[in-house]
């Protein structure tokens, strides 16, 4: 009997530790998400922060972002190609150039996209490499 609370704790803690894994996501999703997190930390979190909150009016937030919701294909493209000029996020204007990372593969972009689109307030589910490949062909990034 004394073990029950402990077991419950472990169960709850494990469940709580897996963002985006609410309904038992696939192993593939987990792989994408974990790889994506590492890539996000090395390429994106400098400016957008680990918390996804951005920095002032210099770097827009990702944790809550109407732009991400409305411009999915553009987000996939700009991870690879960067972005110059004004961008409106949650009613605020940002205008700091974002450098592209042309060395990223379509799979890595799919992993980053899966990570950012299933973290913080987002629950889009896996973004497959087939999907990013198609989008990247259309934006001229591949």
């Amino acid at each position: 009997m004394s073990k029950l609370p402990f077991l419950l704790f472990v169960l709850v803690a494990t469940a709580g530790c897996n963002p985006g894994n609410k309904s038992g996501q696939s192993v593939k999703f987990q792989q994408y998400f974990v790889e994506g997190e590492q890539l996000y930390i090395s390429h994106c979190s400098n400016c957008h922060q680990k918390s996804g909150k951005g920095l002032g009016l210099l770097y827009p937030p990702l944790d809550q972002s109407d732009f991400m919701g409305q411009h999915f294909a553009e987000v996939v493209c700009l991870i690879k190609n960067g972005k110059n000029g004004e961008i409106a996020v949650n009613g605020k204007t940002y205008n700091q150039p974002m450098p592209g990372i042309p060395t990223l593969t379509n799979l890595e972009i799919a992993e980053i996209a899966t990570y950012i689109y299933n973290s913080w307030t987002h629950e889009r589910g896996i973004i497959d490499v087939k999907e990013t490949t198609k989008i990247l062909q259309e934006c001229g990034g591949d």
């Binding site: 400098n46 400016c47 920095l55 002032g56 009016l57 210099l58 770097y59 700091q96 150039p97 450098p99």
Partner: protein, 203 residues
């Protein structure tokens, strides 16, 4: 039991140390002149901040300040440094004797207007956080010889510059009292604690 005694002695020693805090170190060379110790101080400087105001040593008279070197187009460590410096800015909001001083090491690009825009977007004001620009040589020289920070041009670097992510804590006598890695949250925690320790010296 023996171990417990040892542990208690160790814990006691630590508690004792924490009780009577040592003053912060004073960085740099020192010499004794007529029986008085003369410490390394920040050399005379004159820069212009984001509001086109002249910023000199006198701007920080009777003030503690934290200094760093950056540039607005830097994509590597600067965004983290600015995130951390913003923490310092917020944490020292109620301290009228604490100011911040960020030097651009790319004065050709980072004009007064650009620094003004940068500070505004960061949501900070020049009464507490000065972003300064000036003659490139003066900035590099003061970085290297006064603040012991690395700052120079290097075309082989991705962004064209080499610079350290250091935050320097300067006391009211223009002496360096601490050096911190402005890209590490824990180091900036230490800086925040040291600012309070330094304030106590002047109480």
């Amino acid at each position: 039991m023996k171990k417990l005694v040892l542990f208690m002695a160790w814990a006691g020693a630590i508690a004792g140390c924490a009780h009577q805090e040592k003053p912060l170190p004073i960085f740099g060379q020192r010499e004794v002149v007529n029986g008085d110790t003369v410490y390394h101080k920040i050399a005379r400087f004159q820069f212009v901040d984001q509001d086109s105001a002249m910023v000199t040593n006198d701007t920080f008279k009777g003030q503690i300040y934290v200094s760093d070197f950056f540039f607005t187009t830097c994509r590597t460590i600067c965004p983290i440094m600015k995130t951390q410096m913003l923490r310092v800015y917020k944490a020292t909001a109620g301290m009228p004797d604490v100011k911040l001083l960020s030097h651009t090491i790319d004065p050709e690009y980072d004009t007064v207007a650009l620094l003004h825009d940068f500070a505004k977007k960061l949501g900070v004001t020049s009464d507490r956080w000065h972003f300064v620009t000036g003659a490139k040589d003066s900035i590099y020289k003061i970085a290297q010889t006064s603040y012991f920070a690395t700052a120079m041009e290097d075309k082989s670097e991705p962004d064209g510059f080499i610079h350290s992510g250091a935050f320097l804590l300067i006391d009211k006598d223009q002496r360096i009292r601490g050096k911190y890695d402005g890209t590490k949250e824990e180091d900036v925690d230490r800086l925040l604690a040291d600012i309070k320790r330094l304030q106590k010296e002047y109480e």
